[in-house]
Symmetry: D2
């Protein structure tokens, strides 16, 4: 931690800062400069509360140096975490896996049909919401546990893994009974009771970046899960809020290499929510893989105009096929490989 004194701070003011740091049990090292004095706090173990010092007379600002997260960081664990699912699907290794499916589970046959098509095209994980977080209370909110059962049957029939979202702590336990991956959505990235419950489960977690979460906040949200004992976290970049109205969100692909340098956790991209526009999904899916994503999550619907949610950003099955023709070529270009379903 570095304490920056105001220009012209008195010796007494500097002395008070030094005393306060020493009172907290650390060593203080004052550094006079031409414009101002700074005081370094030495031996910081991450527990120093900057506010203690920020309010002292003569202090301009306090700059944290210690990173706020621990177990998610590369400094804690250098080698990449590989999250491996029951069906052998791996996130975070050399392989790239494609998660695909409709925004929401709409019916038992629908989900089964699309699952077969998606597997055929090369997807290894099936997505589909049973509990839908909807901006309006008047929008359809999903099939609930019935939806989970339909997903489970699709898994049995296809061998695909399934991922679906939980909205509250009890929902986490319920989803964990049916799914291979518990999804925590962007709106719940800082829903700490949900994060903690997911951290106490044995099921891998897909944690989506919040609408305007910084990368530090995303990593700290993951830290909640790891701190409870669950190491199997897959991060997901899905676009952040910005000012241009041409796209629903601004897909921040640079977050992928940034996260990879800070953390050992795998990170995938969701170009469907990240753009909100069907015909931008394929180019941005390609770009995500080229940027180093460990996987993709893509919305596909048998008939998007009839979809009960997110129709405008869902691919048609033949577009998904097109995407699955292109992605392996991009993967190969950077020395990786798309993992295909075991037949």
């Amino acid at each position: 931690m570095l304490v920056v004194m105001k220009h012209g701070a008195s010796e007494t003011e500097v002395r008070t800062v030094v005393d306060e740091i020493e009172k907290l049990g650390y060593e203080a090292r004052p550094m006079p400069g031409k414009q101002r004095t700074t005081v370094g706090l030495m031996g910081n173990d991450g527990d120093v509360d900057a506010a203690r010092i920020q309010g002292l007379s003569g202090v301009l600002e306090v700059i944290p140096v210690t990173k706020p997260y621990k177990q998610v960081s590369r400094e804690w664990r250098d080698s990449d975490t590989v999250v491996e699912l029951g069906n052998g699907v791996r996130f975070g290794g050399e392989e790239i896996n494609i998660i695909a499916g409709p925004c929401a589970v709409e019916g038992a046959e629908d989900i089964l049909d699309i699952a077969h098509q998606l597997k055929e095209a090369g997807a290894t994980v099936l997505r589909g919401g049973a509990f839908k977080p909807r901006t309006s209370p008047y929008s359809w909110q999903g099939l609930g546990e019935d939806g989970l059962k339909m997903l489970a049957r699709a898994r049995e029939a296809t061998g695909m893994a399934i991922v679906t979202e939980a909205l509250d702590p009890d929902g986490v336990d319920l989803v964990a009974q049916y799914a291979d991956i518990i999804q925590i959505g962007a709106r719940n990235m800082q829903n700490y009771p949900v994060l903690r419950r997911a951290g106490r489960s044995n099921t891998p977690v897909l944690l989506k970046r919040g609408m305007s979460a910084t990368i530090n906040e995303l990593l700290l949200a993951a830290e909640y899960i790891l701190a409870e004992g669950n190491q199997d976290v897959i991060l997901c970049e899905r676009g952040v809020r910005s000012f241009d109205t041409h796209t629903r969100n601004l897909l921040d692909l640079t977050a992928i290499p940034v996260v990879k340098s800070l953390s050992h956790l795998p990170i995938i991209a969701d170009p469907s929510h990240g753009t909100g526009i069907r015909d931008k999904v394929i180019p941005m899916a390609r770009a995500a893989v080229a940027a180093g994503a460990d996987g993709l999550m893509v919305e596909v619907h048998a008939n998007p105009p009839e979809a009960r949610s997110d129709g405008a950003q869902s691919l048609y099955p033949d577009q998904f096929q097109e995407l699955m023709d292109q992605i392996p070529v991009i993967a190969k270009a950077i020395g990786r490989e798309v993992q295909l379903p075991a037949s």
Copy 2:
């Protein structure tokens, strides 16, 4: 709803859009223009899903006209909602009320002491977190139900109303047992299970705007509460995420008159979280009242550098006194009045 066709869309494409609208049970009105044709959908009752039409051939974009929220809107109810608490405190009328207190309840005596001081200075509602949503899992998370009990005792002792935050659905019920107002924080603005549970309670709700929520999203979150039957919602502007690092958030005071023209619900401002900096709280509190806020929520701590959270933005008690000297003058300048505690 207005369907904008691409320049050069064929007559068949326009015809398909018209047919689709009619299939949905509405009337379609095509309007040829020099640059492009548009098709109006008439008789929209708010249930039309734009995605159905967005994907049709020749369609450039679909522009919604019907507002997505209902009960929160001024068109639903023209006169201002006044939320009145048990102790006679009113939000949304002529009065302006000041909510004050520490970020978190830290101990039984501390909260009692500060409550007496705040009441003395003119605050009518006491704030203090018992369940703290913290960015890091290693930060202190609050006293839990013990904190609620301490707040209840402070209420008994002072006659102030109390407001405190709930983090999950069960927490909503628990908080409702102790508090006069259930606070739903910025991170949970779109936590729908929490919103719904609060909507089924009989306790007024303070709903804070999410970190990057649009005003429409804020109103739709409130709509979740009203839709469940609870009309007593107070909105709160607390700053949105932006790019400048001098302040913690960007306090969007224009949201106050914007919300007031769209909705009948009261709206207050939180200049403590809105700025994150102690010495910016007073000017921005004044500005919020000048902009038309129905109240303020301000963090005050007996000794901010010792606060267990948010010390850097908490006022000292004498600064709160200074604020309480200034606010009534501003209120009067715009024809309103600060409601003072019944003695």
Copy 3:
């Protein structure tokens, strides 16, 4: 400057950083911490280029401590700069001055008529664009030098000072021949040839904050003007780009107290561009003054629906009168006074 080493950086890497700092002629002070070592650079005079060190092996990041601006800062000059115009109008003292007028000068009689009305209502400075920066090349671009002449005649007739915008270096000289204040608009905040030319003029400058300029960038743009010798700079907050579409820009009123603590320069607010909506101008004008603004800049048009630009955000004259009834009361509430035209 503080150099933060990676966790596990070797002694050799730390040594290299120390050597590099010493080679640059400064003293290096290494500080070992539990998580990582940091190296302080002592005696920084503001000329150290962080990039030199950022690229060295083992370096995590380089944190600047020295502020990049000089003459604009309070550390350079503690007392408030007061910009005084020929007609006695003062920005930056106790007084608050109101700049008002149409977006653009549209005709000789129009500008004269409105000037008389505005002065009558209490404005001391007349605004009106002669060179208009328009987003579209097909929009009307202003009357040019003829407009300047019309403004000059309005000044003669009313005794008001005039402010108008320059778009390029030659335009700066031309505007300086006619106006009391040269306006540099948001789009040109980082137009360095224009800033430098304005810095070499003897005319006060009104510098508007860029669409997404940080406060540091605003101050550095002002530094360009001061560095050339012109100390008479008035800053102007006019809203920054954000994500909500209800308003044209997000008026960042917290920038006012932030700038005032960092710099001695006066700062005013433009609630017309800051909101883009006529009926939000008055509440936000009040809020700006309550936040500590040294003045306001407001668009007023005799008949806004007929205005050639910015009609939707221009006040009607009777609304301006209403604003001029309210502002002095707010000003008085915070111990300041609206300066009125000398009669």
Copy 4:
């Protein structure tokens, strides 16, 4: 244009809107809805000023439908514009071209040396600033015309085309004498005198997206150039301002397919400014090409820590070689080809 009336607007109010539209010479088509009436304006040729109607009684909002730009749009010209330089380099066709070079020209020999290395590695266009727009007035501002002469000599020696930035109208003419492409930087995207001068030149223009420019604003800025007669405009995505501090800007790669669907102009990406971090340049360069960029602009310096500007984001020559090994593979994966220097 669509005029949305307030819920409960009177028949007289609707009538007034209809009358006003007819007075402007267009046809009005009222459409009653369950929630509100809307009025369509028919035959819009792009010249209707919404402000005329926005202020009328009973009007809630006015929604523009006609796009504000013309010549840059795909509706004006369907086939892709290909900008071809003197040395045969083409932007906007099947080829992908790589622009590379130091941030600034620092000396005659330096620029010559690096040019040879870059050409060797496969770059066809040499970049290098002679007039540098610097945030601080105390930063080095470039070599001026001497720098242009050094670039010209590097062109002679290597056969590469050269691109360099102009900062003001006279600078545009000067740069046009030496360079193959006039660069207009992000800070000057809405510098209309510069855009107009570039539009009257015969030299191709590289127009960078402003720091927080919407895509519409970028296209309208390009429209200024086309409107003056110069059709050879290459757009450049270089990152927009956002809230995360890990990167200098947020590279908005989705802008590439969005621009390509709206406009016929070529668009390239600048991953150096777009990220601001050396080791993020290569993954984001790959991602840009995968997203469909027509080229890249990359900063390379012989010895980045010694660079006089932007050292932290400049590649080392061997990193550029690595990038040039990867890009052609990505290009090929999507059916395109990197154009190499004629030998």
